[in-house]
């Protein structure tokens, strides 16, 4: 049988981004609205 050289421990280590990053993204998504007027696109971020 072929030998597996990869270390299982490293391969299975779960990497997750910080909670702050996720919450920033979700808030950013909620705040952002994009409007297309003719050829122009307007990004509006609600505070």
């Amino acid at each position: 049988m072929a030998k597996l050289y990869s270390k299982k421990k490293l391969a299975t280590q779960k990497m997750l981004p910080k909670k702050e990053t996720i919450s920033f993204l979700l808030n950013y998504s909620k705040a952002l609205s994009i409007h297309k007027v003719g050829k122009s696109t307007f990004e509006i971020i609600a505070n």
């Binding site: 990497m15 990053t21 993204l25 979700l26 950013y28 998504s29 909620k30």
Partner: protein, 194 residues
């Protein structure tokens, strides 16, 4: 709970039509793969977080402008964005190399402080005060020339003018001053090094 089994395509559609929670589910579902991919290339948690964030900012903008073409390939598309941002990062890093401080790399290996440490300062001060005491042992004319030359940084011509002797005499006095100093040092076995 039903949302958990919704395919990406449906979640994307829901998100485009205004369901913000769909994005949370999409991120939650794929964050490990995307973040793991970025981290495997970057090797730095903070930078990976930045790139992860930029990736999803692009995703959000594209979805909100409705320019996303759903072909059932949400994850490969996000991975492609992440990959491009990683490439951009390395391109930028190449233009402006940035080295983060790690255990193997320390900026202080390359930056050295040439000034004396406390011990060196004490030794230097001691040597200087010992030398000042030794000078007191020299005959007045020799001491005068040595002080003018070494402490006041005058030329032999200036010394000759000031003391009213010829340059050769001034040179001779300097020579004897040094010889005598050496003798005193040897006689008393004084160590004047640091």
């Amino acid at each position: 709970m039903a949302n958990l089994v919704l395919p990406d395509a449906v979640l994307v559609k829901n998100y485009i039509s205004g369901d913000e929670s769909a994005l949370a589910l999409l991120i939650n579902r794929h964050q490990s793969k995307i973040y793991g991919f970025i981290y495997s290339k970057i090797g730095d948690r903070d930078l990976s977080d930045d790139i992860f964030q930029d990736t999803f900012i692009k995703v959000i903008k594209t979805l909100k402008t409705s320019s996303y073409n759903e072909e059932g390939k949400f994850l490969p598309w996000v991975m492609r964005i992440a990959h491009n941002l990683v490439v951009d990062h390395f391109r930028k890093a190449k233009k402006m190399p940035f080295q983060r401080e790690t255990e193997e790399y320390s900026i202080f290996n390359y930056m050295t402080d040439n000034s004396l440490n406390i011990e060196g300062q004490i030794i230097t001060a001691q040597v200087e005060s010992d030398l000042a005491k030794l000078l007191e042992e020299l005959p007045a004319d020799q001491k005068e020339v040595l002080v003018m030359r070494m402490y006041q940084d005058l030329s032999f011509k200036e010394i000759a003018d000031l003391t009213g002797v010829s340059i050769n005499t001034a040179l001779g006095r300097m020579r004897y001053a040094l010889l005598n100093l050496r003798k005193i040092i040897e006689k008393n076995q004084i160590i004047l090094t640091n």
